[in-house]
Symmetry: none
DNA sequence: GATGAATGAGGCTTCATTCAT
DNA sequence: AATGAATGAAGCCTCATTCAT
C-alpha cells in the first residue's frame, strides 16, 4: 500500500533530481524537457503531469532547495544569546551544507540572480530565508556588538560574503575539513560586521 | 567616406545597446535575434554581418563591458602606496561606475555566473580584471596590513563584497551621494580584510 | 440496488450533457476528453468505460439528439391529410423544440455540416429524419398543392428554410411566443413550396 | 523585377490554396500546419512567416473568399430598379460562382457556422456581405413587392435558401446548365419573398 | 554593407487512450 | 464500475542562421 504513494513521489522526485543535475551542468535553456524526462526515466507526458510548465520545474526546484537549506539551518540549532558564537555556528552549518550538497549549492549560485527564475518566486524565497538574519543583525546592533552601519547595507554585505564563502568551499570541498580555512572564512565575515 | 564608417559603427553599437537592454530585462534566451535587430532598427541580416552568432553578441558585450569597467578603474588612478587609501579610491570608483552604468552593472551581476556566457570568455575576463586585485592583496599581506588569511579565500571574499556593494548601490542609486553609506560600504570591506 | 443502475446511467448521461455544452461552446477539437470528464464530475478513465472513443461521444450525442428530435416530431402527431395544415403543425413543432432545447439545436446547427462527425453517422441520421418529409412532398406534388419543381431541389430548399427558421428562433427565443413571427415563418416556407 | 513580387505573392497564395483544399477535404483540425506547408511546397517556417497562426490562415482564407464572392456579385452588375429582375440576376450570379468555385463554396458551407473560425471574423464578413441584401429587402417591402414580414426573418430566410441553392448546385454541378433547375431555384426563393 | 524572406530543426506542450489498482 | 497516473505520438510554433538581391 505504501507502493502507490512511493511510486508517485519517486517519479516527481526523479524529475526534480534530473532537472537539478541538467540545469546545473548545461543551463536552463540548454536543457530540454525531453532530456529531463529521459534522464528521470519517465515519459514526456509524465513530466507535464507533475509540472505544468518547464518553468514550474525550475520554481519548484528553487523553492524545495531553499526549504531544504532552511530546514538544515534551523535543525539542532538553539541560539545561545552570544551573538558571535551563534553567528559562527550558523556560518559553519551553512558551509557544511554547501559541501554536502554541491549540486544544490551550484544551482543556487547559478540561478539566484538569473532571469530564468520567476521574479516572484525568487523574491519570496529570498525574504523568507533572510528573515532570521535580519533579526540577528538588529539584535547585534542594539547590543553594540555589530557595527552601527545601515542595516540594508549590512544585510547585503552579509549575503555577498556568504555567497563568496560557499562558492569557495563548493569549489574546494577538500578544504572543508581544514580548520584554518573554515575559521578564516568566518573571521573575514565577522570582522566586517562587528563593531570595532 | 567617414560617414560610411560612422554608420557602420553606429549600427554595430546600436545592436550591442539593444542587446544589453533586452538581455538584462528579458534574459538571454527570451531575447531573440530578431527582437534585438528590431530594437536596434536594423534588419536581421545586418545583425549577422556584425556578429557571427547570437553567442558572439553576448561575448562581445561581456568583454566590452569588462573593458569599459577596467578602463574606468585605471583612468586617473595612481597608487599612492598607502594600501588602505588606494583600496578606498578603487572601491569608490567602482561604486561610481555602478551608479553611472546601471544597465551594464545589472548585466554583469546577472551573467557573471550564468551558463549563457561562454566559459572561456568568462574566465578570461575574470582573471584579467581580478589580476590587479590579487597583486594588491599580496602586497598588503607582505606589509602586514591585510590579514594573513589564505589568499584565495581573501580574493573570493573581496569579490563577494564587491558584488554586494554594487548590487546595493545599483538598487539604491539615490544613496550613491550619501557619504554615510559610501564610507560604511568601504569600512565593511576593509575591516574584513585588514589585519587586526 | 437500483441506485447502482441509476448511478451508471447518471454518469453516462452526465458525460453526454457536459460534452454537449462544451462541444457547442468551445468546439469539438478545443474540448479535451479530460475537460468533459471534469465537467461531468467523473474520472478520465470512467469516460472511456462508457465511450470507446472521443468520436464515439460525438456520434452517440448526435444520434441521441436526432432521436429526441424525431420522437418530438412524431409524438401526438396525426396527419390530417390536409397537407398545408399538417406542414404547419410540423413546422411549429420543430420551432417549439428548437426553443425548448437551444443547446441541442445549436449543436445540430454547428455539426450537421461538420467534418468532426463521422460521415456514415451523419448520412444515416439525415436520411432517416428527412424520410417523412420526402413523402409529404411527393404527396403534395401529386395533389397539385406543392409546386411541380424538381423534388431534390424542393427537399434541399425545405431543409434550408428549416435551418434558417430554427436559427432565427434559437437566436431570438423571446419571439417564439410572438404569433406574427411564428406565422410569418411558416408562410415564407409555404409560399415557396406551394403551387401558384 | 516582377519576379520578386511574384515569388512572395506566390508562396503566400500557394499556402492559402493548399489550406483551402486540405481544410475542405480533411477538416480544419485534421489538417496539420506541416501538411499545408508541404502541399504548398514551402518550409514550415515560411508558413509562419506569412501567417501568425494556424487560425490566422483560416481567417485570411475566409475573408479572401468572402471578398472574392463579393467582388463577383458587384462586378458587371447594375440594378435596373425592377426588384424581381435584379434579384434574379444576383441569384443566378451567385449560383454561377458556386459552380465555378466548388472548393471555395464547400469551404464556405462547411465553415460558416463552425467554431473553427474566429467569431469576430465571421461576424464581420457576414454583415459586410449581407449588407446589400438588407437594402434590397427594405426597398422591396416599401414598394409592396416583397411581403411585409419581419425583416430579420426575411433576411435569415433569404440566407437559408441561398445556402440550400448553392449546396444543391455544388453537389450537382451538371444541373447548373439546366434551365429548369435554375429557374425553379429562383422561383422557390422569390415566391417565398414576394407579397402575395 | 544592408535587407528580410526563407529555412527546417527542435522545443514545449497537449491529449486521447491505457491499465494497474 | 471507477479511478487517475502514466504514456508517447503529434502538433503548433520559435528562432538562429543563410542567401539572393
Amino acid at each position: 500500500m505504501s507502493s502507490k504513494t512511493t511510486t508517485t513521489t519517486d517519479k516527481k522526485q526523479a524529475i526534480l533530481d534530473s532537472a537539478l543535475l541538467l540545469f546545473v551542468s548545461k543551463g536552463f535553456n540548454a536543457t530540454s524537457t525531453a532530456s529531463i524526462a529521459k534522464a528521470a526515466g519517465v515519459a514526456t507526458g509524465t513530466l507535464f503531469h507533475h509540472f505544468s510548465t518547464k518553468n514550474d520545474i525550475m520554481s519548484q526546484l528553487f523553492l524545495s532547495i531553499k526549504q531544504e537549506f532552511a530546514n538544515n539551518m534551523v535543525s539542532n540549532t538553539q541560539l545561545s544569546g552570544d551573538i558571535e558564537k551563534d553567528a559562527n555556528n550558523l556560518w559553519q552549518k551553512a558551509i557544511d551544507w554547501a559541501i554536502a550538497q554541491p549540486l544544490k549549492q551550484l544551482f543556487f549560485l547559478q540561478y539566484s540572480m538569473s532571469a530564468d527564475i520567476d521574479v516572484a518566486v525568487r523574491k519570496q524565497a529570498m525574504t523568507s530565508i533572510l528573515g532570521f538574519v535580519v533579526e540577528l543583525i538588529e539584535q547585534g546592533k542594539q547590543q553594540g556588538i555589530i557595527a552601527n552601519f545601515p542595516s540594508e547595507l549590512l544585510l547585503e554585505n552579509c549575503h555577498g560574503q556568504y555567497l563568496a564563502a560557499i562558492r569557495f568551499f563548493t569549489d574546494n570541498p577538500q578544504l572543508g575539513s581544514d580548520e584554518q580555512h573554515r575559521s578564516a572564512s568566518f573571521k573575514l565575515f565577522w570582522h566586517a560586521m562587528k563593531a570595532q
